[in-house]
Symmetry: C2
Subunit: 428 residues, 2 copies
Amino acid sequence: MKKYIDMSKEELVQLKEKLEKKYKKAKELGLQLDMSRGKPCKEQLDLSMPMMKTLSGKVLTCEQGVDCRNYGVLEGINEAKRMLSDMIECPIENIIMYGNSSLNVMYDTVSRSMTHGVMGSTPWMKLDKPVKFLCPSPGYDRHFAICEFFGIEMITVPMLPTGPDMDMVEELVSSDEMIKGIWCVPKYSNPQGITYSDETVRRFARLKPAAKDFRIYWDNAYGIHHLYKHDQDNIIEILGEADSVGNGDIVYKFCSTSKVTFPGSGVAGIAASDANLEFIRKQMSIATIGYDKVNQLRHSRFFDNFDGVMKHMRKHAKILLPKFKTVIDKCESELGGLGIGEWTNPKGGYFISFETLEGCAKKVVSMCKEAGVIMTPAGATFPYGKDPKDSNIRIAPSFPSLEELEQATEIFILCVKLASVDKILETK
Amino acid sequence: MKKYIDMSKEELVQLKEKLEKKYKKAKELGLQLDMSRGKPCKEQLDLSMPMMKTLSGKVLTCEQGVDCRNYGVLEGINEAKRMLSDMIECPIENIIMYGNSSLNVMYDTVSRSMTHGVMGSTPWMKLDKPVKFLCPSPGYDRHFAICEFFGIEMITVPMLPTGPDMDMVEELVSSDEMIKGIWCVPKYSNPQGITYSDETVRRFARLKPAAKDFRIYWDNAYGIHHLYKHDQDNIIEILGEADSVGNGDIVYKFCSTSKVTFPGSGVAGIAASDANLEFIRKQMSIATIGYDKVNQLRHSRFFDNFDGVMKHMRKHAKILLPKFKTVIDKCESELGGLGIGEWTNPKGGYFISFETLEGCAKKVVSMCKEAGVIMTPAGATFPYGKDPKDSNIRIAPSFPSLEELEQATEIFILCVKLASVDKILETK
């Protein structure tokens, strides 16, 4: 394979003509394919259908002795707490169950800090200057959207293969007391699939923030979402690690079963230190009489124990792995050696991250759209939707069928080639 | 029956001795009874158990054509919207579905106003002075708790047999732009079971508040919770009424199935004008990817249509009516004509409201507790937990069995008598 950059102008012009013909044909197919969001596919959802039967005709009393159908047990039932505690490796006592979505728990956590501060600190809305958050990027667009909604200033921190650039994190956090948080997807990160290294987690656990109400927003979205049976990433449990160095209040861990059972109809929770939870409970007792315990019980009974959860996750992996491989194999065979793109090959999570040549991502995504393939908007993986290099594209392979995915990937690759030829021609 | 107030000191002292003996005996029974919260009883919960089977093995696609198990349909499925729209008599287009609790929707609504204002107004946290809410009282303690949590100043408005004192409401609302809201339980109110009169609703719909971001917080908690088949209260639908006089933005309606199916495992929503909903949607799209559509579908399929809902509510009524009658009949036979208490006889809802002589409520509740009968704390039905007359007690008859309820009511009546004798003796 000859690198595009090494081609002559003539070669490139010829190539462009060929690619354009292909692209024209592709558009004529009138496809409607979607690789934009991390949605499980139908086969994955079917895996959890037996859960719909776990409660019919049975006594719905939880371990605390309370009828789950009625009011009571504000913080959630023990069975469900145990499930999450196994998933995120925290003691049950450090977990509070919420509703159906960890995103909503994160929103609520930021919202509470705006109106009531953190463990006695000044409410962020009462501060003279706007609060700031660190945003390791590329990252999760919905994290950034929460910041934007509350007028929180976002500072981009580069992602390295080991996680966020910790030199930068440490320096910023220790010197600026307006920095009140950092968004982290520590395992199989969105979108790159990076798992933070042991050193990264240890440095997080030992942060010495200028702001007393600084917290790490540790979004355990893909903690058990492995693609392989044996080749799995592991990560240090940060709450325990932070606690062991007297820094236990520094982190909130968020967790849900959205991509374990049903997105939107799962259960979610937060894990934090006793002191953090005590503060959170005060708000919780005002904001609700309790979340859906029947659904908590439905989940606990379906899985029985953590072994049940992990067996279930293997079934997801068997459906997902061929999809990841389809995209990655195609990229390797079609783009390998051309020097016009790089892509991740994660061991878990929901995404493949693609890096185009600088200044090509927007064009690729818009060309895909024209040919009937919806990608996550370029830039979405950066604060304010602005990718400074305009190069990152998030690929979500879970939802389409294998056949659709092949088609969609082919079109994506075609668009990458075309946009790259144009880009390189500009310099010739 | 001789009124206590007409008794001589000697008669009262004799009576007191007799009552004290009874009370001593009652305490020795070591009862554990609870008339404190509006919790459905087991038989009521059992009514909804067939709902647990409505989704097993079936296709879970909603009317919008979306698989309810997956992400999508942020505002909720049409089937569920229709169910709530029938319950609160609003067009489907004016409804957004939320999670499992209308209390949480109300909390969220106030919280959003604190951080983002209302339809473009200044966020309440950015105002120089604290916001104020009108609190018709006796009212719902959890409404008042939301205000207290956000530092919103509460102004008590007396409840009349027709609803809140509208002269006072109109005067306050039109003259003070810091007044941003009023809490209403318009039908079978908590705790009195009062249904607002047509005139009251019409005056609400025509309010001319000094504050543009004033809203009526219309908590339709008991809209279809009739006790009788034919003798039912009706109420004017306020959103339509307000809209008809060009005032459609003035009201938020809240609704849930907490006391239709399972408390905490039902579905909830808000109804409001297009302009209000547009503002709410902006926040919603940040705060969640969507609420539990599977549970929305479970509810819709269980009831099929509004007729199904109403038939279900009749079953609740058949369980609840004997409980209400037990308390009320006992009050009538034991307290009638004594001049030491008044109680409501509502046609629906979850509560009976009891008025002791001035200055007796706290004592009655604490005496009940000593004898093993838990009542809602005296004062809870007023802002800041302070009943200026110390006379209102909320009775929640739904949860205990008929037998328990008889016992509990007897002890309650005994405590009312004892506290009243003491009170009257002070003046002799």
